[in-house]
Amino acid sequence: MVRPDMTKPSLRPDQTGWLIAAAGLSLAPHASHLPLAISALCLLLLLWRGLLNHRGAPLPSRSLLLLIVAVMASLVLLEFRHFFGKDPGIALLAGLLSLKLLETRSPRDGRAVLLLSFFMQLGQFLYQQHMGIAALALMGTLAAVGAMLALQGRPEPVGQRIRVAGTLVLQGLPLMVVLFVLFPRVPGPLWGLPADAFNRSTGLSDTMTPGDIAHLSESGAIAFRAAFQGASPPPPAERYWRGPVLSRFDGRSWHQGPTTRLSKPAYTPQGPAHSYILTLEPHNQRWLLALDFPASAPERIHTDNFQLLAREPVRERVRLALVSYPQTPVGLQERTVTLSEALTLPPTGNPRTRALGERLRTQVTRPEDIPDHLITFFRQSRLTYTLSPQALGEDDVDSFLFDTRQGFCEHFAGAFVFALRAAGVPARVVTGYQGGELNPVDGTLVVRQSDAHAWTEVWLEGRGWVRIDPTAAAAPRRLEDGLAAALGGEGRIPLLARGDLVWLKALRNQFDALNNRWNQWVLGYNQGRQQEMMAWLGLHQAGWQELAALMSGALGLVMAVLAGWILRNRHKIDPIDRSWLTFCRRLSALGFPRQSWEGPIEYTRRVSTLRADLADPVLAIGTGYALLRYGQNPADHALLHRFHQSVKRFRPR
C-alpha cells in the first residue's frame, strides 16, 4: 500500500520530544561501556537536538551531518582500530541513532529512530542484564510507545501520554509473560558469535594464570556441542575435553612447552570407543578440544601431548566427526626431554610446597604412590573450591595450599603439579573442558565456557601419562554435577564480612537473594528451567511440540480475554434509570407494562388505580423518579436515597 507522500508533514515539538526521550533512554545504559568520547558525542548530539526542538530552529545541513559522521567514524576507528565486531558495531549504532535524530523531519524518520532505539535496548543486554538495566529498558520501551502514540495522535500532556502508554504496555504484559515462559528455548547460539562477543572471553588461552579459568567460568556461552552416535555419551567422570597442555611454569603462570606435530596419534587406541560429532564454536585458536583420546583424524594435526589441532585457527563453527577411546593408555614410552620438562620447577619460590614434595619423596617408597599421598594431603587440608578465592600472596602455590586454602580448578591443578614435580614425579597441567550438559531434546552434550577446567597428568613408569583431577579431591560434585553444584550457594563477593554493619549486611543479603532469584529465574531461564517449569506443571519431558501447543493455548486464552474486552459494548446506565427500569420490569411482570407514551406520573397513576393495594409505593416511586429526572434539584441526596430504597423494597406479588 504505497501512497504518494509528497508533502511530508514535519514533526511537532512534542513528537520530537518523545523521540529524543526514547532514544536517550535507550542510549543511556550504553554509557557504561562505550568509549567516553563517543558517549560524550552522543550526549552532545541529543542535547543539540533537544535545543533545536525547544527553539523550533531548523535542523543542521546535510554537509554538517556528514562531517559529524566522519568525526564519529574516526573516533570509533581510533578506539577499536576496526569497524567489525560487537563493540565497534554498537558504538557506531549509538552514534547513528543520535545523528538520525538530527535529520528526523517526518513521522517516517521518527519511526526509524524508534526501531533503532529498540535495537539499542537489545544491544545493552549483551553487556549487562541486571535489574537496574531491566528497569531502564522498561522505561525506554514506555518512552518508545509514548513516541509512537505521539506520532499517531494529537498533542497531549506528558502525564496523560505516559498513562496511555503504560496501559498499553500493561495490557501487553500477559502476552509477554506467556511467550517468555513458554516460547520453546533452544540452547544457542544458532550461528557463530563475533570473536569479541562476551568480553572476548570465549575460550581457553595457551597460558594459565590463577583466576583465568574462574573468569571464563562466568560465561554461559557454549564452547561446543557433541552429539554421540549410537550409545550414550561416556559418564561425566570420563568427559575430559583436551585443550592446551601446559608444562612450563614461570613461578606464576603455566605455559605450553614445545610440542611435536604428528600426522598420526602417538598411541594405539584401546578400550571402548565413542564416536561423536563435535560442533565447535569459533574461538580463534587451533585446538579442537577432542575427548581424550581421539583416534586418527585425517586433515588434523596430532601432537605428542595428545592434542588434536586444526591447521588454521577456528574462526567459524566447525563440525568434526571423531572417535575417542577414553581408556587408552598413553605415553608408555615417553621421551626424556618431555619428562625432564615435566619435572622442571623455577629455581626459587614456594618453599613450603617444595618442602612438602621433598617430604613425599623421602617418605613414600614407591614413586607411583606419591600422587595418592598428595591427594590425601589435599583432602586433609580442607581446601575450598570457589569461584572467588581470596587474593593469594607472593608465592601463589604456597599461599593457596597453606594459607587461604581457597581456589578454583587452576589453583588445584597448578599446586598439584608443582608439588609432584618437587617430589620428583613428572607431571603437567592440562586445560580444557570437563563435563557438559545433556540436552534432553536432541540428546547432544552441550559444553559451555563454564565447563572450562584444568586437571593434571602424571607420568608413571609402566602406566604412562595418567590423568589425575585434584579438584575432585575438594569438590567431587564438580565432576558429576557441574560447576554450579560444586560451588553450592556461594555468593560471588565475600563483601561486608564485618560484624559491625549488621543491618547493611542484612540489606546486602536481601539484595543478593533477590539478585540470585533474578539470575536464576529471569536471566537463567533456559531450556533446563523451562523443563523444570513444565515438570512442575505436570508435563514431564516436554518437547518443543508440547511447549508450542501450550503456548498457543495460553496465547489464545489471553487473546480471547482481549477480544471480549473489545466487543463489550455496555452502555453506562445511570443508576436512577437503572432503578426505574427495575421498577418498570417488576410492574410489567404483574401485567402492567408501561406504554411508550406514558410518563412516570401517568404510568404510576394508572397502575395505582388498577392496583389500589400498591398505590402508595407506586405513586411515591413515580413521583420520585419524575422529581429526580425533571425536578428543580436533581442532586437531592435524601430523595435519591429514598428513591433507590423504595425501588429495592418494591417486590409486588
Partner: protein, 325 residues
C-alpha cells in the same frame, strides 16, 4: 489502475463483503472491520524477528523479555485499532446539487454510541489518496464529515464507496471498514462559459399585448388572479383587510422567456446545448424574469424562484437518462 478495477472490484466484493449502496444507518459490526499491519508494523515485525534471533543466539534472557514485551504491546494495539471502529454507526446526510465541474460535497454522519473516544479516524472515498488530517469522535456524539468528490458527468452521482480507517494507537496496525451509504448528489450540466445573452428577442411576438408582467418597476395594482405569483400579492393591503390585489410591474424584461432546445443552432451537440440552457436558466433566475424550458419530449412551464430553478436544472441534468426522476 482503471484496468485493474474490474477484477479488483470482484475481489473486494468477495473479500470485504461490499455490494450495492446500503440504506442508512450502516452499523460497523465485527465482520465489517479489517485489520492489517501498516508498513511500519511490518518493519517492526521484521525488527522483532531479528531481535528474537539475536536473543536466541546470544542467549539473552532480557532480550527475549524485551522482544516479547514489544510484541505483546504491538498485538494489543491490534485490538485497540479494532475497538476504534467497532459499533460505529454511519448515516447519510445531505448532498446539495452542484454544477458539473464543481466538487460534489456529501455529508456523512458518524455516530459514536459508546462511552469512549474514537481517535485518529480518517474517512475518504476508497481508491483516492487518504487525507492527511485525522479526526476524533468524543463519547456519545455524532459528527458530520464532508466528503468531497470531483464530478465528471451530469446526472445523479452516487456517494462512492468510503473507507473509514484508523491507525490509532501506535500506527502499527491499520483497521478499516468499507461502506457505501445510499446517498446521491444531483450534478447539473456544466455552465457554458461564454454563452450569448438571454434570448429576449424571441419572446414577444407581434400581436401580443404590449404590456406584460415584468418585475422591475411598480406600475400599479390589479385584481388578483389565482395564477399570480404569491410574491406579487399586495400582502400589506391583504393584512389591512382589503380585497386581494396583485402588484403589477413594468420593465424591459417584463415578459416570459422560453429557453428552447429547438431554437439553438442545429450544429450544437447535446452537452453544449444543455450547458447553454443551464447558463440561461441561471441568468434568467438572476435577472428575475419568468422563464420556461422546452426540451425534446418535455417542457417546464414558465416561472421563477429556487424550486423552479432547481426543477429546470434537474430536467437538464437528467436529460436523456433513462427513467429520470
Amino acid at each position: 489502475m482503471r484496468a485493474a478495477r474490474s477484477p479488483r472490484r470482484i475481489l473486494e466484493r468477495w473479500l470485504f463483503r461490499v455490494g450495492d449502496p446500503e440504506p442508512s444507518p450502516v452499523q460497523l459490526g465485527q465482520r465489517r472491520i479489517f485489520v492489517l499491519p501498516t508498513s511500519f508494523g511490518l518493519a517492526l515485525g521484521a525488527s522483532l524477528l531479528v531481535m528474537l534471533l539475536a536473543s536466541i543466539n546470544y542467549n539473552l534472557s532480557l532480550g527475549f523479555a524485551l522482544t516479547f514485551l514489544i510484541a505483546g504491546t504491538a498485538w494489543v494495539s491490534i485490538h485497540h485499532a479494532f475497538r476504534t471502529l467497532i459499533h460505529l454507526g454511519v448515516r447519510a446526510g445531505r448532498s446539495p446539487a452542484v454544477f458539473l465541474g464543481e466538487a460534489a460535497v456529501f455529508s456523512v454522519i458518524l455516530d459514536n454510541p459508546a462511552d469512549r473516544h474514537r481517535r485518529g479516524l480518517q474517512l475518504w472515498p476508497t481508491g483516492s489518496p487518504s487525507p492527511e488530517e485525522t479526526f476524533d469522535l468524543s463519547p456519545d456524539t455524532t459528527q458530520v464529515i464532508k466528503i468531497t468528490v470531483a464530478t465528471h458527468s451530469r446526472g445523479w452521482l452516487q456517494l462512492p464507496r468510503l473507507t473509514l480507517e484508523s491507525r490509532y494507537p501506535l500506527g502499527l496496525i491499520r483497521a478499516w471498514s468499507l461502506f457505501q451509504p445510499e446517498l446521491r448528489c444531483l450534478v447539473y450540466p456544466a455552465l457554458e462559459q461564454h454563452s450569448p445573452s438571454l434570448p429576449f428577442g424571441d419572446g414577444p411576438r407581434p400581436g401580443d399585448r404590449g404590456r406584460q408582467g415584468g418585475t422591475d418597476d411598480f406600475a400599479g395594482l390589479r385584481h388578483h388572479q389565482p395564477a399570480d405569483s404569491p410574491r406579487h400579492i399586495a400582502w400589506k393591503a391583504v393584512a389591512r383587510g382589503a380585497p386581494w390585489q396583485t402588484k403589477e410591474f413594468e420593465g424591459h424584461s417584463a415578459r416570459v422567456i422560453w429557453l428552447d432546445w429547438n431554437t439553438l443552432p442545429p450544429s450544437m451537440d447535446v452537452e453544449t446545448r444543455l450547458s447553454r440552457l443551464a447558463r440561461w436558466v441561471v441568468e434568467a433566475e438572476r435577472a428575475g424574469v419568468d422563464y420556461g424550458l422546452r426540451l425534446p419530449g418535455s417542457s417546464h412551464p414558465p416561472g421563477q424562484g429556487e424550486p423552479h430553478r432547481h426543477a429546470c436544472l434537474k430536467m437538464l441534468a437528467l436529460h436523456g437518462s433513462p427513467g429520470h426522476d
